[in-house]
Amino acid sequence: MNKRASLLSLLMGVFLLFIWELSARQVSELILPRPLTVFTVLWKGILDGYFLSHILTTVVELIIGLLMGGFLGVLLGIIIGESPFLKNVFSVYIVISQAIPKIALAPLFMLWFGYGMMSKIVITALICFFPLLEATASAIQHVNSDQLTLFRLMNASRWQTLWYLKLPAGLPTIVQGLRVAVVLSLVGALVGEFIGAKKGLGALIIASQGMMDTTLMFAVLILLAVLGCILYGLVNILENQLWYSKENRNEKN
């Protein structure tokens, strides 16, 4: 079954490559280079290590940003999910933090966090914390009321109810938020690098645009796609370690 899906997925990939090839024939190399050209450049760049430092830079920014943003997201999500009062106080500012495009504030980020990795990390964190915040807050708010009564009975403190009930019960929803956050963290790191970076896949995209080296740009896009899939896959692997995925497996019969 899983094999068949992988096969079909592969087939779809081949089909998309085919579409790509066909479209590429219609337009200039500068707009859409052919798959083969792109993969050749990609392969060369991988072999001679050209991409390595850029990938590393982006990955580091992304991971640190994701950790910071993830932590912040879960934390704020807990606060907002726990206290309707604080929710009313903060949510406007959280929404504002998302509605304002980071690119527009680039000079401030650069001023506050310098031109190095830090500003990229901050932007990544800022972009990816929101889905986790919403997921966590929602998960915490929609707990089974019988279980809540049980915890009240056991005289559980707020923290205990959170830790032993709300968070484990809300895990599926939180992981779903993480899945979105992980993908957004890639976008975040890239946006950060667009603003002014010497290294990183985002910087490479900008540089390739300057030289109108569309082939190189597409090679970078493929790297990004692979990176995105790896990150997403990691979340899936993590999820498979969690109790509820085992539970579901048990129940099916």
Partner: protein, 296 residues
């Protein structure tokens, strides 16, 4: 009969292009039987690409983009030099820096590595015998002059028009090196695909003539243009700034001899050679192949 033509612009519809935007009031192109539309873009490369995809007939773009496209095998025709004058510069407030040579070892801000500020800075450095590795470049994005004001960079690469609001905002006693004093590569061209040129040569000629007329109009009526820009240009809120910008573009539109839109093959060739030497394009170009001079 009217024929429609579309320009792929390197930017949105901004003040410095008021001559194009004044079409409604003055109908320079309509007179020539041309129904003109403009596609906004985000950079000269975008403009060129939007033209290459057939979204537009003519690209309003910078030489860097044209050289790159040619080096990548596109067959283009340069019809017209919109701004024979190079409008890029390097600005510093550091008294130690008296000539481009003094930039060695300094921090210099650029917009981004895909922008004209980068390419033209390299040209300036090259003419001063320096290279990219002699300086520390900082992509400051839209921050423009702010890092300079904040002291985060020693100099910043910009354009003449960007300097206008900066000086108004209190950029004091700047030391300005104009790229045109080193190598006056033109700022922008009208470029078409060769196939378009062959198909619509007559129409393109009419277009160029109409464009020249519009430029002439803006040179002659800068105040009216500045007024119009308030309504027509997305960035035209302040008529006084408009006026300054229009003045700058009016100046940039004229070559050394005070002529509008003269195509100078030699400087275009020299630009291509310099871009190749700087590693901005991967091969040498024979530019005369790609230039069709439209005479009146």
């Amino acid at each position: 009969t009217t024929n429609s033509l579309t320009i792929a612009n390197w930017s949105q519809l901004i003040v410095e292009q008021t001559n194009l935007l004044a079409e409604e009031e003055h109908g320079f192109f309509k007179e020539a039987g041309i129904d003109l539309s403009i596609i906004p873009g985000n950079g000269g490369q975008d403009a060129l690409k939007n033209m290459l995809t057939g979204q537009a007939d003519i690209a309003f773009t910078d030489p860097g983009a044209v050289y790159s496209a040619l080096a990548n095998g596109e067959d283009l025709v340069i019809l017209y030099t919109v701004y024979p004058q190079n409008v890029f510069n390097v600005v510093t407030m550091d008294d130690q820096i008296q000539s481009p040579k003094d930039l060695k070892g300094k921090n210099i801000g650029i917009y981004s590595r895909s922008s004209g500020t980068y390419q033209n800075l390299l040209v300036l450095l090259h003419q001063a015998g320096l290279s990219e590795s002699d300086v520390e470049l900082l992509d400051v994005g839209i921050a423009n002059f702010s890092p300079l004001i904040q002291g985060q960079v020693d100099a910043t690469a910009a354009t003449d028009t960007a300097l206008v609001p900066a000086i108004r905002a209190g950029l004091s006693a700047p030391n300005i090196f104009e790229v045109r004093d080193s190598l006056n590569i033109p700022s922008d061209f009208f470029v078409v695909k060769r196939s378009t040129f062959e198909e619509k040569e007559a129409l393109l000629r009419d277009f160029i003539l109409a464009y020249k007329k519009s430029t002439q109009w803006m040179i002659e009526n800068p105040d009216r243009a500045a007024e119009l820009a308030v309504e027509l240009a997305i960035d035209g809120r302040d008529p006084e700034i408009n006026r300054e910008i229009i003045n700058l573009r009016n100046t940039a539109s004229l070559d050394e001899n005070g002529q509008i839109g003269k195509v100078d093959i030699d400087i275009i060739q020299e630009g291509a050679d310099t871009y190749f030497e700087l590693g901005l394009i991967p091969k040498k170009l024979e530019m005369s192949q790609y230039i069709e001079v439209i005479e009146e």
